[in-house]
Amino acid sequence: MTQKTTISPREELVSLYLENLDMITEGSPDILNRFREEAIQHFKLLGFPSVKNEKYKYSKIESLFTKDYEKYFAPKKISFRIEDIFRCDIPELDTHLAVVLNGFYFPNNGLTTKLPNGIIISSLAEAARNYPDIVGKYYNAQAENDTDGLVALNTAFVQDGVFIYVPKGVVEEKPIQLINLLLSTENQLVQYRNLIVVEESAQANVLICDHSLSPMQYLSNVVTEVHVGANASLEMVKMQNEHNDSAQLNHSYIVQERDSHVKTNVLSLHGGFIRNNLKMLLNGEGADAHAYGLYLADRSQHTDNYTYIDHAVPNCSSNELYKGILDDQATGAFFGKILVRQDAQKTQAYQANNNLLLTADAKVSTKPQLEIYADDVKCSHGATVGQIDREALFYMQSRGIGEHEATLLLMFGFAHEVVKQVSIESLRDRLDDLVEKRLRGELSRCNNCPMNCC
């Protein structure tokens, strides 16, 4: 009798963890190490979320992990000057820049930048050593290791990422930009972690850009935890622009204290497979959360957004708008859950998801889920799946605009409703421009970087 042994990707990752444990823990600070054991146990138990799991109903995860990826437990030396390869050409947009290369913080005059006003932008591992009190307090405080196998997997393997700290009362006008680059000569799985802490009455703008710069297969499984203190404001814009052989699994957790304001905007311009989880916990009265998203997909791309707004206390408001344009055979999904707990009286929660399908083969699933346990609340949701508005098209044609151009204008208009929520004007204009290029089919890369990544 011959026995056929097939190792599942789950078992493979667990043994990879056990075999490399020394290497993983050796260079890592205790704050990261102390959660690994429990996390790998969770992962062992949970495995990859299946489509039977309601939260992951529209995305097949496990098959992503069956490809051969290299996994590195220390940053691989790649000698390049960031400005030679990548120049984010958003004009007039002057930012504090942090770069993550293949999951590891890329040194920029060291692993930590401290601004005169006290803001810290740093490698997460380095920050855990230098600022154990702050990192220790917030690290892994929100990640759902016991219910989401992907999050547990990240916690088990994580070695680095970015730490951003905006101390109490500091108002920073200049955006903090985090660029995640994938650049290698082999396929890679990267799992890094970002921690953003905006303390009481502080204000910050964070721009996150994801790019793949070489034509290899990539799988990113990234967790970002954000803490926003009382009366603080944070705007986070994420721009995803990766090639068709890349898959991204993002898990963002944001907790908001009293009277805080948070606006997130995730623009999925390009990518083979994109899954974004966003959980926002309104944990202090008077807080408001705005979550916006735009997804543009064509060919066989897949984008899936899952949002979960948790109204835990009274007098908070949330407002969600996600819009998608799907072309060719692309598939998309939006699943928006809103929980209004029993105590959360006077909650206002609004959600809208609008989709444009450009072909009969493109598909989108949209699912709102409102769980309301308080009685004095204002909640609404609405979802639409439609085609280009023929009346609007005719109106534009009757003014001399050709059908193709009119269709494009309508699509820009549709997308602009999301882009216009970005507060920084130069960034907003640039994003409009990128969206336009993308919809015209001219976006082979997001800027003048010499790598052709799409």
Binding site: E391, F394, M396, Q397, S398, I401, L410, G413, H416
Partner: protein
């Protein structure tokens, strides 16, 4: 300029236009009146190329060319303009970008290059003044959240931007108060030249006090049942439409 011969058209297999004959020459103003549901807007739709309406018989020539063969955008570039009875809201598309695209497509058709940003803004400003529209409107999305009157003024503003040879105004007066009506009519009159023409579709005499027609036609049940000079509109105002419906003569 415009010659319509024995035009029949249907919507969803229902014949709406049942043999229309009409000739509009450069410099003329025509009014088309008639009860609701007569086919006035359908005629405007045929002239502008709306897909919904299927022409089953007849011809339409515009400056010697077969209009019915042209796509809606080509008709526009050839000089046809419709002020919509129900202007369409287009969220996310700013008036400025909309008009820039339209003006530049018209220019391209004439073999001209696109206007520079400053020339375009100058034109925009000039034409806004002509129709006295609120400056802020052009910064907003096309018709989005506009009041009824603003939408109609916006139609005339677009007409001013594109300077058509033949403008068809489909109930541009409905929903306008008397001041707005005067502004809209003034705008149309200022754009009037010997080499262009206007077709005014309206129920009421009051717009025709400002835009004085050379000819008035009554369209009823898909046919032009009577044509005369401007006095016909006054009589209609007095007698209403019932006599037409009853098949009487005036």
């Amino acid at each position: 300029m415009l010659v319509i011969k024995d035009l029949h058209a249907k919507i969803n297999d229902k014949e709406i236009l049942k043999g229309i004959n009409l000739e509009v020459k450069a410099g003329e103003v025509h009014a088309i009146m008639g009860p609701n549901g007569s086919g006035k807007s359908t005629l405007a739709s045929v002239l502008t190329g709306r897909e919904l309406v299927e022409v089953t018989h007849g011809q339409v020539e515009f400056n010697g060319k077969n209009l019915l063969e042209m796509s809606p955008e080509i008709r526009s570039r050839e000089g046809i303009f419709l002020s919509f009875q129900y202007p369409v809201e287009i969220p996310g598309v700013s008036m400025v970008n909309f008009m820039k695209a339209a003006v530049n497509e018209h220019r391209k058709y004439k073999g001209l290059g696109p206007l520079s940003a400053s020339d375009f803004l100058k034109l925009l400003r000039e034409r806004k003044e002509l129709v006295e529209i609120d400056s802020a409107l052009t910064n907003r999305s096309v018709n989005e959240g506009f009041s009824g009157g603003e939408k109609k003024k916006n139609e005339i503003f677009q007409m001013a931007m594109l300077e058509p040879k033949l403008a068809i105004l489909d109930e541009t007066d409905s929903g306008l108060d008397i001041d707005a009506l005067r502004i809209v009519a003034n705008g149309v009159n200022k754009l009037k030249r010997p080499d262009n023409a206007v077709v005014v579709i309206t129920h009421y005499q009051r717009l025709l006090d400002y835009i004085v027609p050379d000819f008035v036609h009554i369209l009823y049940n898909g046919r032009i049942v009577k044509s005369a000079g401007k006095e016909l509109a006054l009589e209609l105002e007095k007698k209403g439409y019932d006599w037409i419906k009853n098949g009487e003569d005036l």
